[in-house]
């Protein structure tokens, strides 16, 4: 135990003397949590609309007014021919063409039915999908407006209609930031935890000090604990800082218990630090360590359920997310922060992450040799 104390003292001295580690620990969370959530916005706005109004009637103008008033669309081109509208899409001046046929008003009035056509630039699939969905919704609304205007006696309305009302649980205002910020915090913790540990140990390999340690009677377990404990404490510090930012900037206060949240974060950090340790036993230099951890981070981030829902992934991808510790913590942090779940609800995830921690650290210890 005395040996461990010397190892810890040395590690903390080095950490607090290294300005780049301190920058990484304090500035990175602030930047990622304060700026990223504003950019990582699920909502699609500023969809560029090319209008081809061949009717020029009161109804067509009312429809266009309704669309532009929604705030989602910008009328960027007012075209007179389909060729012109097409050119607008080709030159990226427009994302969607709304084609209003010549007899639009007449058909609505006479035949109570009219056709509109929409052409969408689908290069950006999300924007195309959401843009056309928004536009359809507005047109349906418009349709509804006209009908209510015409029907004098709603009681005798011959169409049966089902109206659906929504109530959003756990995130009542559907604020995507409440959804994103905890997830980004998980990624941050993963990156800092795995990278710091891996780079730190590999740097000792490069400098040659690890060989000096290997020739002393220091036990493997002491050496590894001497590396894990300082970064574990730093990780929890970053987590606290992140929760503070979430509260200060976004007013996100975890609905569940903080004790449960910290308990999970503590175990999760052990798993992530174990991963960093494992990387360090395989990498010979810092570049290798960076590349390995960068590769893993890409998979962890894209398959972690932060940006895309795991439920809508194909089966093989779902299988991969099962091996991704990030996905469990993102799940848990959303349950704890948004839903206010209790300790009993996260038992499954806690068990799995404990397994990750044991396997990764065990593997790293086995793969760390004092003698080659």
């Amino acid at each position: 135990m005395r040996v461990l104390r010397f190892l810890l003292q040395k590690e903390f001295r080095q950490i607090f003397r290294d300005p780049s580690i301190l920058r990484l620990i304090f500035i990175m969370p602030v930047i990622q949590l304060v700026f990223l959530p504003f950019a990582a916005d699920y909502e699609v706005r500023n969809i560029k609309l090319a209008l081809l109004d061949r009717d020029h009637s009161a109804y067509s103008r009312a429809l266009v007014n309704k669309i532009t008033a929604s705030g989602y669309f910008m009328l960027t081109a007012n075209c007179v021919s389909f060729q012109e509208a097409r050119a607008a899409i080709e030159t990226d001046k427009a994302d969607i063409i709304l084609d209003i046929p010549p007899a639009f008003e007449k058909e609505i009035v006479k035949e109570t039915e009219a056709t509109l056509s929409m052409s969408v630039n689908a290069i950006n699939g999300v924007k195309a999908g959401l843009g056309s969905a928004y536009l359809q919704r507005i047109i349906m609304d418009f349709n509804q407006d006209i009908r209510t205007e015409w029907i004098q006696f709603p009681r005798f309305d011959q169409d049966t209609r089902i109206a659906v009302t929504f109530s959003n649980w756990f995130n009542t205002s559907m604020n995507y930031k409440v959804f994103m910020v905890p997830g980004i915090l998980v990624l941050l913790l993963t990156m800092i935890g795995a990278n710091l540990t891996a780079i730190n140990i590999v740097r000792e390999k490069e400098i040659g000090t690890i060989e000096q340690i290997n020739v002393t009677p220091v036990q493997k377990s002491h050496f590894i604990l001497g590396k894990l404990i300082p970064f574990w404490i730093l990780g929890l510090l970053v987590f606290t800082l992140g929760l503070g930012i979430a509260r200060l900037f976004y007013g996100i206060i975890p609905a569940g218990s903080l004790v449960t949240l910290y308990a999970f974060a503590a175990v999760y950090l052990l798993a992530v630090l174990g991963l960093g340790l494992l990387i360090s036993t395989y990498a010979e230099n810092q570049q290798q360590a960076m590349l390995i951890s960068f590769f893993l981070m890409m998979i962890f981030i894209l398959m972690g359920g932060l940006y895309t829902s795991i439920d809508s992934m194909p089966d093989w991808a779902k299988a991969i997310t099962k091996a991704n510790p990030v996905s469990y913590f993102i799940d848990v942090i959303r349950m704890l922060v948004l839903k206010g779940s209790g300790f009993g609800d996260i038992g499954y995830q806690l068990g799995i992450i404990t397994g990750f921690a044991l396997v990764l650290n065990g593997w790293a210890v086995l793969n760390y040799h004092k003698r080659s």
């Binding site: 080095q14 003397r17 060989e211 000096q212 009677p217």
Partner: protein, 246 residues
């Protein structure tokens, strides 16, 4: 009979097809300064790494400080000091912190560390630099400090791998004074070097060529055997036979 601190018997290390160390046999007595010479790539560092428990021998036998290198390598580590080719103190720690750290992980008591630190600082004339970061020291000072740290825990034996590489002649002389002081206290010194004047300072010298020990004797006897004026000549006569390149 004097205690043997190192006994090596046909010690061999192979990396795939390449035999880095090819069945070397020798012994080193307590308190001796043993020079371990050889051209670059002759296998000196590999042999030293096997003896200090950093590298697993492929075959052969060796006892270091009375312990078997195969099974008791952790016990060996309690009894040896090691100074590698690469400078291996922490540059972002101060002189005093480095001493304290290495002494601490060898399990030395606080009282021992405190007392001996002052002694070592005085011996190295580093008392006024004790709280400066090691990276601010000149190379010669760093090497002397690294040596003092390697023997701080009072081992039976210290391995020095080219300790004076790149160091100026005056500092090299001072370094060797430290080695003599350590030997006088009973610490056996096992040292590799490329400076033939340093070889003259050793009690006995072995010369490795292509993984084998081709000559082993006192410097005076070696010069006689090879009819040479200096150790330089002895070394050149032997090393020219080498087929292994750098």
């Amino acid at each position: 009979m004097v205690d043997k601190v190192i006994i090596a018997d046909k010690l061999t290390k192979r990396f795939g097809d390449f035999t880095a160390v090819d069945g070397i046999s020798f012994d080193v007595s307590q308190g001796e300064i043993f020079g371990f010479l050889g051209a670059n790539g002759a296998g000196k560092t590999t042999a030293m790494r096997m003896l200090s428990g950093l590298s697993m021998p492929t075959s052969g036998k060796a006892m270091v400080a009375g312990y078997d290198v195969y099974k008791e390598n952790e016990k060996i580590k309690r009894n040896i000091g090691y100074m590698s080719q690469k400078f291996s103190l922490y540059e972002d720690l101060t002189v005093r912190e480095n001493i304290r750290f290495y002494a601490g992980i060898y399990g030395k008591s606080n009282a021992f560390i405190k007392e001996k630190t002052e002694l070592v600082l005085k011996q190295l004339h580093l008392t006024s630099e004790a709280d400066k970061l090691v990276k601010s020291l000149p190379l010669g000072w760093k090497q002397k400090l690294a040596f003092s740290v390697a023997i701080f825990h009072e081992p039976k034996l210290v391995f020095l791998d080219e300790p004076t590489g790149g160091v100026d002649p005056v500092t090299r002389r001072e370094f060797w004074n430290l080695i003599y002081e350590a030997a006088a206290e009973g610490i056996t010194v096992f040292v590799t070097t490329h400076y033939m004047d340093e070889a003259e300072y050793c009690n006995r010298v072995s010369i490795m060529v292509d993984g084998r020990i081709d000559a082993l004797d006192t410097p005076a006897q070696l010069k006689k055997t090879f009819a040479a004026q200096s150790m330089d000549e002895v070394f050149l006569k032997l090393a020219r036979k080498a087929v292994r390149g750098e």
